[in-house]
Symmetry: C2
Subunit: 313 residues, 2 copies
């Protein structure tokens, strides 16, 4: 009811629903290339990362705020393109940018906050998983990591379809908001989070939060990740396990309900709900890549480990 231009934005929360809030920052040289020419792509990714966290709660997004750090190299056109991309992606999911702050900064940075809401019965946390639950994701993994690789090096042998899919997964990822709300409506979905920091990191987090361990097996590697990893001399499964930024949802589903839920999911969305393993009572993360189980170290992106700071997230 009151947006940009006053000290704060105001809105009327829906009666009987919980509010949710998330914040996620992107910094030049860390999350996107220094001097990145495409403001729209950066804005899109910044909003997608935040909306994905809203999706992971089973919520719908309502509004966003944007704190933008503007470096000397940035043009007004770049900023406008970034804002338009953020606003467009938010609008596609029913939300709008309600406020912000623009400050000078030596590097470009985006700190976005998104507020959403969800009915109390549909809120999905990451700590509700149980031993035996099927772990599944809303799409094959590794394409974003492949796209990043293509921005670094050109591999002319890769066919155009895979090339385009990888680049799109990296530059314009789509948050799984509809999928998140659909999955949240099922009581058989015990836990949900997004896989944005890499499956090895995020499955470990979900398992730990749920007081379990996890076995990963049959992890679905995106065809574009297969193609690019092979061209780059990398292991395709490593892209899927550790690449991150895929913005798929990761769910823990009651094992007896999984078949029926996956069939309904496929019928509704036209894409499969893909098993990636299961929760186990024994703590720790294990991988069965076809040649037996081995312990798996999380190698995705962990902000706190990277900074050696604890207890702040």
């Amino acid at each position: 009811m009151l947006g940009i231009g006053d000290d704060a934005a105001a809105w009327q929360p829906s009666r009987g629903r919980l509010s949710v809030i998330t914040t996620d920052a992107l910094v030049e040289g860390v999350h996107f290339f220094a001097g990145e020419p495409d403001g729209a792509a950066v804005g899109h990714r910044a909003m997608a990362a935040n909306l994905s966290d809203i999706a992971a709660m089973g919520a719908r997004p309502l509004l966003a705020t944007v704190a933008l750090g503007v470096a000397p190299w940035v043009t007004q056109a770049w900023i406008v393109a970034a804002y338009r991309a953020m606003a467009a992606l938010a609008a596609r999911h029913g939300a709008r940018i309600a406020g912000g702050d623009i400050v000078r900064s030596p590097v470009v940075s985006f700190a976005l906050t998104v507020v959403g809401d969800v009915s109390r019965t549909q809120l999905k946390r990451r700590d509700g998983g149980r031993p035996g639950d099927v772990l599944a994701v809303t799409g094959p993994l590794g394409a974003s990591r492949a796209g990043l690789e293509l921005f670094r090096h050109d591999y002319p042998a890769i066919e155009e379809t895979q090339r385009a899919a990888a680049r799109a997964a990296f530059a314009t990822p789509l948050p799984r908001l509809r999928e998140g709300r659909w999955l949240a409506a099922s009581a058989h979905v015990h836990a949900m989070m997004d896989s944005s920091d890499g499956l090895s990191t995020d499955a470990g987090r979900l398992a730990r939060a749920s007081g379990c361990g996890a076995l990963l097996e049959g992890v679905p590697v995106h065809p574009a990740a297969e193609a690019v990893a092979r061209a780059a001399g990398d292991e395709p499964l490593a892209y899927a396990l550790h690449g991150g930024e895929d913005f798929e949802l990761l769910v823990a589903v009651a094992p007896r309900a999984f078949g029926h839920l996956a069939a309904r999911y496929r019928a509704h969305f036209g894409t499969p709900l893909l098993p990636v393993g299961r929760l186990e009572a024994e703590p720790g993360l294990r991988l069965d890549g076809g040649a037996g189980r081995r312990d798996l170290a999380a190698a995705g992106w962990d902000h706190l480990a990277a900074l050696e700071v604890n207890g702040a997230r």
Copy 2:
């Protein structure tokens, strides 16, 4: 009901109240000194700036999120001190830090978002002022600018009381949350905002939003601003008009109600509600410094003017 550790934090909004949200960023080298040794002071200021915007709506703060950019020079102790200061100031006003993001960055940056709530009848906007309204502030101005000056240069002749007041106004400003809610309860307060960007800038904004102009006269200069400005060879009134970061509230009050409201305010808080001028039908901003009226150019901090970006705030 769900805080740090999941994809998003969740809370139950109070029935029948509006939610408000604000975001404000501080960047090293712009809003605080590069290599600033005192993490607690920076954290405090970052939270104060955001809480002040909540105060300006007549709202109470509920929760905050923090996106922190961490530069290589920062120690874990510095970050912990900053977080503790943010959490302590929030807690003093009934709010808590509910989530965040920590990212690597070449410079330290804080992007905070605070959510609050307010009853629909008490929400104060900046566009409700009317010609003839008395403009008033919750405290004398310019002390923060004086404190900044003292961090840059030492002026041994200034007495310790003023020195301490100036440093505190700059380093640990106190948002006027109780004052904001008290003022918001009066229907005679037609408009309210905070004066964080400098009175000349903010009075101009309130007047413009209200479709008016403004005359500033009798602007109360903080004694510490008087002392430091004189020592530095500056004009004390300029500190009060253009210094910014004072985090006092600026209100437009029905003229016939002002005397009674100010008396009640003084009785309640023990400090005066200080007139700084009035709204006028004629657009523009004017100053009467005792020697007649002159047009006044806004010379406080304007993020957008500084960046030459329009339409984004």
